[in-house]
């Protein structure tokens, strides 16, 4: 059986329905590593490269939202109009791998793999993104918090293709930061996205829990301690970082230790909340 190459979403969902359990291939930056190292031997592959619906993004000015197709590569988020609309996503996209990886990798891959270290996932979480899933003749919308259910586990059904995500465009400051062992080509040791959206502060953390985490206590503390102009005093920022550390749930693994991650993610949160004010 060859690799199936659908050229429309309806053809892709039909192929998936006809080939239960087929492996969906987007940019390949996760899947091919597993295949190259013999961790996975796919039998049936549906390559989504030629499905135009997945490779587009669009702005809905009335709703104040942007839809990003699951196969839009990160390089299109790093700069240009999308980067203006969702700056935290641009910052996250720029930290993904290398230029070669950013030309191939996409949000659909991050969601499909659902690693807690997926660089775009804290942004989706902080902005309460909606994940759109398509199957034959039907679509389903899932809040990203319900989509990511655990380490490398999501709530996609076997017959569903990730169509894309809808995010609110920025209406307050936002930013993303990540700690790794070097500046390029690195999987995060800890990451965080901060956004002030509709006046309410949100913080989401990557690589410090079984999946991406929000920090309700820290968010509540900050919403009660924001100055009228949205600025944050040094003391409030420090306490915010401490609460974020407390709400993180890191583990020791080959990439770092729980103790370091807990500390680092608090520092990231403290910096992000103030970095936003200065910009």
């Amino acid at each position: 059986m060859p690799v199936l190459l659908p050229t429309s979403l309806s053809e892709a969902t039909q192929m998936l329905s006809d080939t239960p359990g087929a492996t969906l291939l987007a940019g390949g930056t996760d899947l091919m590593v597993e295949v190259n190292f013999n961790h996975r031997k796919p039998n049936d592959v549906i390559a989504l490269r030629h499905v135009p619906e997945l490779s587009q993004w669009s702005l809905n000015k009335v709703a104040g939202t942007v839809f990003i197709g699951s196969a839009v590569p990160y390089k299109h988020m790093e700069s240009g109009e999308l980067a203006q609309l969702v700056p935290a996503l641009a910052q996250a996209a720029r930290t993904v791998g290398s230029p070669q990886i950013r030309a191939a990798g996409s949000i659909g891959g991050n969601l499909g793999t659902c690693s807690p270290a997926g660089d775009s996932l804290p942004v989706l979480s902080a902005l309460d993104a909606i994940v759109h899933l398509a199957s034959v003749n039907t679509t389903r919308d899932v809040p990203v918090s319900d989509f990511m259910v655990g380490p490398k586990r999501n709530s996609r059904e076997q017959n569903e293709i990730i169509l894309g995500v809808t995010l609110p465009i920025r209406n307050g400051r936002q930013g993303y930061a990540k700690v790794g062992v070097r500046n390029a080509m690195v999987i995060s040791v800890a990451s965080a996205c901060f956004a002030l959206q509709d006046g309410s502060p949100r913080i989401a953390l990557g690589s410090v829990g079984p999946t991406v985490l929000r920090c309700p206590h820290a968010e509540q503390f900050l919403s009660q301690n924001l100055a009228a102009d949205g600025s944050v005093s040094d003391d409030v920022a420090k306490e915010f970082g401490r609460l974020v550390s407390q709400e993180s749930k890191p583990i020791d693994d080959h990439r770092s230790t729980a103790v370091y991650r807990r500390h680092a993610v608090g520092v990231l949160a403290q910096r992000l909340v103030q970095r936003g004010v200065q910009s």
Binding site: V3, L5, V33, N43, V45, A47, S98, P99, I101, M185
Partner: protein, 162 residues
Amino acid sequence: MSSAEFYSLTVNGVEHQVADAWIGESLLYVLRERLGLPGAKGACEQGECGSCTVFVNGESVCSCLVMAASAVNCEIATVEGLNSDGTLTDVQEAFITEGAVQCGFCTPGLVMAVHHLLDQNHSPSELEVKEALSGNICRCTGYGRIFAAVDAVIASRNGVES
């Protein structure tokens, strides 16, 4: 394990038939082992080192992370096809004259990455050059001679005496 049966790839403008391949073979493997194009090098097999960099539809990507059978109907370009007459490009010449080649293993990938950068951006800043080459690892040169080669190409293309 299923076979991808039979498919064709367009590499450097030439159509190649690939028969009896396994579905999971990477483009890097197919280029090197089935099509006799060993310019792209295999090292990490996980997109970390950039030594397998090729262009797919004009995008600079790691060929180890492209499933070959998914790249049908795509324009694939490798280092072998940079100059169709077999002569060296200005980037390759500059790598030689500036001493940017030591063991040479990373060179084809870096040459592709430099061509890709300079095709998009005729006068990149130092930071833009470093970021564009951040996915290509060289363990010999310390990168100094590579950046010197890039600077020489930029100067030459912009008509500046180097």
